[in-house]
Symmetry: C2
DNA sequence: ACAGACCAGTCTGTACCGCAAACCGGTCTG
DNA sequence: CAGACCGGTTTGCGGTACAGACTGGTCTGT
């Protein structure tokens, strides 16, 4: 068993990144969101958001659905089971690590 | 006023880095430590630890004292006022950001 | 006295990463 | 039909974490 502080050594870097932590937390709360909604919530640039979403997809933490809303393309994101689990573990680990006198 | 999640956008990257968060938390708790003690506590490599300490020093979060312990060189680190404050703010921000249903 | 192991760190090279701006295919407006 | 706008992706750049090689010096054994 390792101490809460040492556990920081192996936090999930994919989620630890602030922008992605924000995104993943949002998805955790809303269940589904499109690119633009995330764009406005996070206040990231488009390029930046796109890159982060790609990373989350590659890590297989989110499911991505591309479709057309009328004639305009739209991308939908959902946090999947793996993503939800990783976030919960991350939150627990961080809270423990930050919780001292 | 920004929501706790949005506040993630401007967390202090110097402290957010897991290795450094660990170091700074340790220093917060012990008040003073030398290189080797940190080395063993964190299980980082020497090069890595050295680089992190340099960064913390450059950010002016720690005070560094080089001296000799007998004939061997020894470096002592202490978290200064700025460092303590930044850590406290970071902890508060992270707890808020991670605290939702 | 000298060689080699060890010690406390620092320096260097590499691979990755976050970021914004440029770009792209397509749609809407005048 | 030209130019603004929309939903994203790609590119280029600067910065960063990391491990391993290196440095300057001390200790041990013979």
């Amino acid at each position: 068993m390792s101490t809460p502080l040492k556990a920081l050594g192996d936090v999930d870097r994919t989620i630890h990144e602030p922008a992605r932590l924000m995104i993943v937390s949002l998805l955790y709360l809303v269940r589904e969101a499109d690119f633009n909604w995330l764009l406005h919530q996070t206040e990231l640039t488009k390029g930046n958001l796109s890159a982060h979403m790609a990373k989350l997809e590659q890590a297989a933490y989110i499911d991505v659905e591309k479709r057309f809303q009328g004639k305009m393309p739209q991308t939908l994101y959902r946090l999947n089971k793996a993503g939800r689990k990783v976030l919960e573990q991350y939150r627990a680990a961080m809270r423990k690590a930050l919780d001292y006198s």
